[in-house]
Symmetry: C2
Subunit: 174 residues, 2 copies
Amino acid sequence: MPKIIKEKSIFKSKLFNIKQTKIKFDNQILDYEIISGTGSGAVLIVPILSDEIIFIKEYAAAVDDYMITFPKGKIDDGEQLIEAANRELQEEVGFKSDSISLIDKIYLAPGYIDHITYVMMATNLKPSSLQGDEPEGLESIRVSRKKIDIFLNNSPIVDSRVFAAIHFIQNYDK
Amino acid sequence: MPKIIKEKSIFKSKLFNIKQTKIKFDNQILDYEIISGTGSGAVLIVPILSDEIIFIKEYAAAVDDYMITFPKGKIDDGEQLIEAANRELQEEVGFKSDSISLIDKIYLAPGYIDHITYVMMATNLKPSSLQGDEPEGLESIRVSRKKIDIFLNNSPIVDSRVFAAIHFIQNYDK
């Protein structure tokens, strides 16, 4: 197993901390750059309403276009996973749930980003809204579980975490 | 559609360019931080050997552990997608291919990262190796296409792009 022998932060902002690390392999020592989040990670919620799943369409600043994703957001300081998920669910799709469970974790690009996204499944949804910090209303899209592949194939920009979350949900049921 | 009204770089390193943007929505103007790559994106290759797919197990610096992923790497300056894919294939799994095609694009986390990964499918594999810049040998893992779900469910750390690539491959065949 390689070993981290040195680590220092070379940039810090509100959202990101870029670290430089020296890693010792069997025959050599290499320098890496790593993007580290500044918080406790994020939750992503798959809202399930009988045989439908609720996606959202949200403006994605880095590609200056709309993407298909799931409700998600940073975990606030001191907040539990289920609490964060229930808050985001109310802010982004207008539902609350008393049946939220952690089903898996997503590693975005673990070679250079240490962000972890906790995938939460929410069932037993009841209408309830909270005002979030979204700059515009988010469009909810309900898709029958049988038509998810068709829906994603017809969506030009899909957050990569959607594919991981769908895999986890489909395998959770088995 | 929101509009980017200002953009400036606040940090630049070998790999990353962090940008601050001001985006105008209908009712407000918000500041965003965006991670931008410094190159032309990356290729990720799904190597197919009759009814098996070849994964790799690689050290992932950001989580200081081994992950399951596919051969992948940055596109060099002036390099074509297929050329980059064939180079990475030889460096990371010891095969070359004359049947490589682009099947889709992965948007990692388009809310805050603009990285695009081109998903390439490689069939008709022939043994051929090139020396890459990997600090240690990579373990190849051949998995029957029917057992991919079981394999991924039993792998604790999986690069999120694997799930997207598997989705694209499975839907490409249809």
